[in-house]
Amino acid sequence: MLRIDCLRSVYSELENCLVVTIMGAVAAELHSLGHRPNFFYLQHAMGLASSTGLGLALCLPEQRVIVFDGDGSVLMNLGGLSTMARYRPKKLVHIVFDNESLLSVGGFPTATSTGTDLEGIARASGIPRVATVRSVENFKAAVTDAMHGNELTTIIAKVEAKGPAAYVTDLSLLENRFQFRRHIQSLKRS
């Protein structure tokens, strides 16, 4: 299963959500499908995409928030799973692309390649709904289900360690950040 095929399968569903991604392949691939003002790509600060999604979800409880995370980033902030589970915002969907690798820095294997079980960690942290998916069909079904549900969900998507040729996009970090905030403020006014 390729991450970009997963992203493509749910892209049309993301229109009315606030989307936060981690750096690297996830950001570059989502951007390549077509940037939208409701997408924020956290191009550093590994581990904090999920915390950002949690902050958004706690402040905007009616707003659907999607975080596209990765195994390397989650492993850097395992405590963040317990914080998400503690407050369990109903409309937060946390998707972890697990390619068992730190792909963008050369493909070094993460601990999920040697048996660390992110689904088990998420469940034991107290995330109320957790699933692991291994096909695009199941990915799309799980994400769609979570987006129409009303419970904090973490989905572990086991994907191949393959990414785009380049990671830098033509969207500057600050442009993305200001556009994202302005988009949210416009939603609040409408």
Partner: protein, 170 residues
Amino acid sequence: MPVSLTNSRLIFDALKECDIRLVSALPETWLVHLIRLTDEDPEMILVRLAKEEEGVGISAGAHFAGLKSAMLMQNHGFLASINGIVSFAHLYRIPLLMLVSYRGSLGERDPWQTQGGNISEAILRALAIPYFCLDAPETVKKRIRQAQTLAESSLQPVALLLTRDLMWEE
């Protein structure tokens, strides 16, 4: 426990007057009253963290959402947050109002706090984070307002160091 309830309430009231509506925190002795006051206030969202660096992401989310937030942490928690501060708050120009208990400075009895006390201000200066030591109760309200104003206008982290003189009664 001689943590000053009077001054904790002063700080809390000043935060509320600045329209702070979300506070992230990791408990430490000097912050117990502040965290409890936040928890008991229905207008406040309290986010209890596992590690202080999470608070950078939480505050960024709050900023995007249009809510004003503050972070409560010990100076060792500030040290634990540095990558988040540099590679999120500085990189993306996110305002952070950081209230940092200044452990390990003059009068510290706990040996384990002393090393952090030695280097906290030097690290703040190295990161070019504007900071101010809060020690006089009569200036608390004004300084918190000023720190928040600067954080919002400059879109960057600003720190207030909560000193022993302010937080501890003995």
